[in-house]
Amino acid sequence: MAMTTEGPKPASRGAGAEGRLQTEEMILNVGPQHPATHGVFRLLATIDGEILINAEPVIGYMHRGYEKLVEQRDYRQITNLVSRMDWLSGINNELPLAMAVEQLMEIEVPPRAQYLRVILCEMNRILNHLMFFASFGAELGAITPTFYAFREREDIQRVMEATTGGRMHFGFFRPGGLKEDVPRGFVDEALKGVRQVIERLPDYENLLVGNEIFKQRTIDVGVLDREAAYSYGVTGPIARGSGIDMDIRKDEPYLVYDKFDFDVCSAPNGDCFDRFWVLVGEVGESARIVEQAIEDLPPGPIMGKVPRVVQAPAGEVYVRTENPLGELGMYLVSDGDRRPYRLKIRTPSYSNVSALSHVLANTYVSDMIAILGSFFFVLGDIDR
């Protein structure tokens, strides 16, 4: 499995002057249903023997037209739409929308609501990353990580469910604050959940990261270089796996992220292993943030002063937040109505996956699923 970072060269197609087998290109259709994709995703792969010459992602099977739908709905209703974009990070999706409206309306969010937002977002990030931990293992043929990850997920999932009433689509953030305060016992249960994750994280690392077979399948496979990552707008764990230290929580702290001590995980090589390594590392950092936020959680109201009808004054604002999979940005154009005039949603998976064809060119067919899996994308986030 020795593979250079440049990838193998396509086999010669002429008659075997050097004694090679004669091969010809063929097109292989992967998907639209494939277990390695989180949603409906198709890949048109041109292969020559064992080598992928070109791979063109085909998306749009789940396009729901959110950017059009939101123009017909008021801000409270949109919360529940955007929650369904990246269904593994529901509560994180709601955040930039609430923040965009708050910035235009100049609403001040009370500290308790800000802390609770951080706690819920980070718990959701743990849920998201554990899911990809599970699925990436399964895609490489290891089923055990799934059981490990789902065991821990369930504890945190239960806290989220008790708080919001939902397991995937939470609908909990409002412009100005939260829908309601957290239930009794939240602090203990949440602490128990994240402490368990911290305690068991070494197991996770040993299970896959230290596994020789796993290393063979991921190290130096599917290398994404820094320049391409910038040029395609790749963010999140994928970009940080390529040596880019961008993390909006650190770079432009929103909410109360500047009050916590946490590190930005990044790795230099840009291969599947590094992307996965960053993903696992972020679970621990998120758990640390939750612990600190719960310790400092202030009492007080959970809603700012918000008029009964939420009407953002005319203006434009671009708000970006660090979603579990990368930069989620919303460009809101308001004309002073209850509905957005235009809401451009910049989702992380969309930009990340657009770099796939660049990474997949000139790799082995047998590495394709490993590379696909290491891009950690959700189709609902791409298609919107």
Partner: protein, 180 residues
């Protein structure tokens, strides 16, 4: 806790003015981002400058999309292409507005400068009907090939609410009327 080489928004505005001066109009700051209007004919030059200038270094491509401002009220304007790029080195946000002719919307492709624009331009093409000369493969991204119309234009109405009104109170002020 900001990025190490970050500069303040007013400084960023000065730098953009210095580097791009004659090619851009109405530069201003909007919520910390440098915001300006750029004519389509200058766009490629401006984007290349933004990316390659060592004072700006906007190598990160955030998004490209469109806004149809035809119903935005007075001074709203028409159709525009909206581009956002970011400089990881200086933490500069740049929003570029490119007004295009609504009758024959055309904007030069920047996919040769930012590869991420490949998909964003295809999406903007199908949703707003804007052509991007220079794009290598300007086909539909989300919509079926035989789809008629450009859904994100304001003139494209969503039929469901036009045909049948929502049955019930959907706003606080309607609730008194009893909804159903």
């Amino acid at each position: 806790m900001t990025r190490p080489g970050a500069i303040t928004p007013p400084e960023a505005l000065d730098r953009v003015e210095e580097t791009l001066g004659p090619w851009v109009e109405e530069h201003k700051l909007n919520f910390g981002a440098v915001d300006f209007i750029c004519k389509p004919e200058n766009l490629v030059r401006v984007m290349r400058r933004l990316r390659d200038s060592e004072h700006l270094g906007c190598v990160f491509f955030t998004f490209l999309s469109g806004v149809d401002r035809s119903e935005l009220g007075e001074g709203g304007g028409g159709l525009e292409v909206l581009i956002h790029v970011y400089s990881p080195e200086f933490a500069i946000h740049v929003t570029v507005h490119v007004p295009v002719d609504p009758a024959a919307p055309e904007c030069p492709s920047i996919s040769g400068i930012y590869k991420g624009a490949l998909w964003h331009e295809r999406e903007t093409h199908e949703m707003f009907g804007i052509l991007f000369p220079g794009h290598p493969h300007l086909t539909t991204l989300y919509l079926p090939e035989d789809f008629e119309g450009h859904p994100m234009l304001r003139s494209f109405k969503l039929p469901t609410r036009v045909v049948k009104a929502w049955p019930g109170a959907k706003d606080p002020e309607e609730a008194a009327a009893g909804g159903r």
